[in-house]
């Protein structure tokens, strides 16, 4: 990133909103901020139009903290709740057509690799369950089997939230929702299983109950994608509106679902593990040396 594009000219600065000045002076760019630093730096996402108590919003905030280099990241999304927040962040965001995320990301990443051979440009798809496994299924699968070098993050709220509560491929069997008046017919799609079949180097299932773990998971997925190809993070991000979860109980639901059927899981290939170990070892040493 050219920080110069972010930094205002001194004469203009005083007229800018305080949020912008904070982003310039206290943003995360190039600083490798952690979840434990929250409250002490300006996050790339602040205002958003998401529903009160939305777990997806919490996940998205943590996801942005997890990006190893937000200053060199381009987000790709599609129609759905998530983009309402993702598009508000101070990270470039491509809002494409329905279900085109993983195709767009494939072309974008290859183009960026040609244009910036000496700088990692991270491409991250963050889209809903419907956008990825229903309308975007073909693009998702093929990007995985081609091992395209970007990360796909599924914001799995198990429903079409943005369109008002229709069942998706990720809805659980039997759940009554719009377009499933007699209950969902099939099973929830096993996308983690499909990711295993595609032999992705990093696959994770996560619930935003442990903020540091969410950020670490996203970070690992993005780092591995740089070197080895497609990676996948599937996050349970409940829809408290369509699932009628009282706002104060959104996190209680998250813990329950995590315990019942959405436990944290990380599947890392041997080469990705060696690569991550090396990076994390160096970071620990650097931290120790700093102390």
């Amino acid at each position: 990133m050219s920080f110069e594009t972010l930094r205002p000219s001194p004469a203009l600065k005083e007229f800018l909103p305080v949020e912008y000045k904070d982003l310039v002076d206290h943003g995360p760019y190039g600083k490798n901020k952690k979840v434990s630093d929250m409250g002490q730096f300006k996050e790339v996402l602040e205002e958003h139009p998401m529903c009160a108590g939305c777990a997806m919003t919490l996940f998205i905030r943590l996801m942005f903290i997890g990006l190893p280099n937000p200053e060199h990241t381009i987000m790709v999304g599609t129609a759905g709740c998530g983009r309402l927040a993702i598009s508000q962040a101070s990270v470039p965001f491509i809002y494409g057509n329905y279900g085109d995320t993983n195709a767009v990301a494939s072309g974008l990443k290859r183009g960026l690799e040609l244009r910036y051979p000496n700088q990692f440009k991270d491409v991250v798809v963050a889209a809903g369950d419907g956008g990825l496994v229903d309308i975007g299924f073909q693009g998702l699968m093929h990007s995985w089997f081609r091992h395209e070098k970007f990360t796909t993050i599924m914001l799995d709220n198990e429903v079409y939230g943005n369109t008002g509560g229709q069942e998706s491929g990720m809805t659980n069997h039997g759940k009554v929702l719009k377009m499933a008046p007699r209950g969902k017919m099939g099973e929830k799609m096993d996308v983690i299983g499909l990711a295993k079949v595609a032999k992705l180097d990093y696959i994770a299932r996560v619930v935003p109950t442990n903020p540091a773990r969410v950020a670490r998971t996203v970070r690992r997925a993005v780092l591995v994608a740089r070197e080895f190809g497609a990676t996948y993070v599937q996050a349970y991000t409940s829809c408290n509106i369509e699932y009628s979860i009282p706002t104060p109980e959104v996190m209680k639901d998250a813990f329950e679902v995590e315990n019942e059927r959405y436990g944290f899981e990380e599947i890392i290939s041997d080469r990705a593990k060696a690569y991550l170990d090396e990076i994390e070892k160096k970071e620990k040493q650097a931290k120790k040396a700093k102390k």
């Binding site: 990133m1 050219s2 594009t5 972010l6 139009p49 200053e71 060199h72 990241t73 381009i74 790709v76 983009r83 309402l84 598009s87 508000q88 990270v91 470039p92 965001f93 491509i94 809002y95 494409g96 057509n97 329905y98 279900g99 085109d100 195709a103 767009v104 990301a105 494939s106 072309g107 974008l108 990443k109 290859r110 183009g111 960026l112 690799e113 040609l114 244009r115 910036y116 051979p117 440009k121 073909q138 693009g139 699968m141 093929h142 081609r146």
Partner: protein
Amino acid sequence: MSNLNAQAEGKPADWVAKGDLQKVVSPDEMFFKLPREKQFITGSEAAREAIRRANVDVAISYPITPQSETMQQAGYLYDDGYIKEYYRGEEEIGVMSAIAGASRAGVRCLTATAGPGLMRGLEAISSWPGARVPLVLLDMCRVINTPLAIQPDNIEISFLLNTGMLVLHAENQQDFYDYPLAAFTVSEEVDVTLPAVVATDGFFVTHARGPVEITPEEFKLPPRDGWRSAVPAMDNENPPARLSRDAPIQKSNFISYHMHAAWQQEVFAAVDRSAKYFRKYLNGLVEVVNPGAEDFIIASGSAVSQAREAVRQEGEMGRKVGLVKVKTLRPFPKAEIIEAVKDAKRILIPEFNQAGWMHKDVCAALYGQCKAEISAGPRVFGGMTMPTEMVLEWLAEARKQTP
């Protein structure tokens, strides 16, 4: 820098991308100064030679049925190092989305499709102009209707005319060499920054041989400059164009309607601005044969070739028939057409489709501008060829109807 994966994909360590050995020349040199050698090649081969000289960064292919060999030829060019990145996509929605993603990275992009494939990719394709992604799509027109057929028919062009893309229609193999090079050049001009489609009629041009004058292969166009465009590349080096960030665009209110309307107006204004470049590189948006004639034929694509033969045969009989070849369907050369046929009495519009999209465009352009009787045909479709006799019969009939 080229072919980043060459070694990983089996090329020896001393392999040199042939594209790296080419010398960059300005578009002016490429189009007007370099010597040309005549070859007898198919339309797909002519396109391949254009691509070889176009300094393409990313090409994404799909073997849609009915297919032409152009995109597999692009594969061989990639293998030789004339194209830097290439892969076979999952299908047309995937390909048309991916190529737009690649263009957003600020690199030069190419893909191709035909008939049903174009229809399948149309959702993505019609989003390109609004995204202001310069790229070139080669379209080898084929039947799209049921019953299924693989024959030429260019009804699909009518779907492209209102997308905001630059639309060129190649008559023959020579055009299918010249037009793609012009399309790359013009689509990346800052005041244009739009995708371009070069359409041609399948089989007649793509699979048949014709004489093509081409420039030496050791010269190529300058690379795309990713820093020069109306809408910046999505590379996180520029402040991005936040087409979907600002809340008003997403909401239902008068501000959002105005913003969207203004964006569309700008896209179509950019189409108009491209005309000056096409006038230069294509030597005019139209070609006029026998100016001042009372009988005129207005056509594009391979209908022009049929019309030329009709014009020749009429000439042998001592009758002067004029011809307007429309090279660019978008920008539509309204002023040129009005000027060319201002004294005409009868106009014929031969087309290779049932809908008659050229007829509609010409009628709209000439309404109130010209007293000629405009015939809605002749038309062939579903894969038919258009015999010259058919054009001659329509001419005779028009003379009878409008003495």
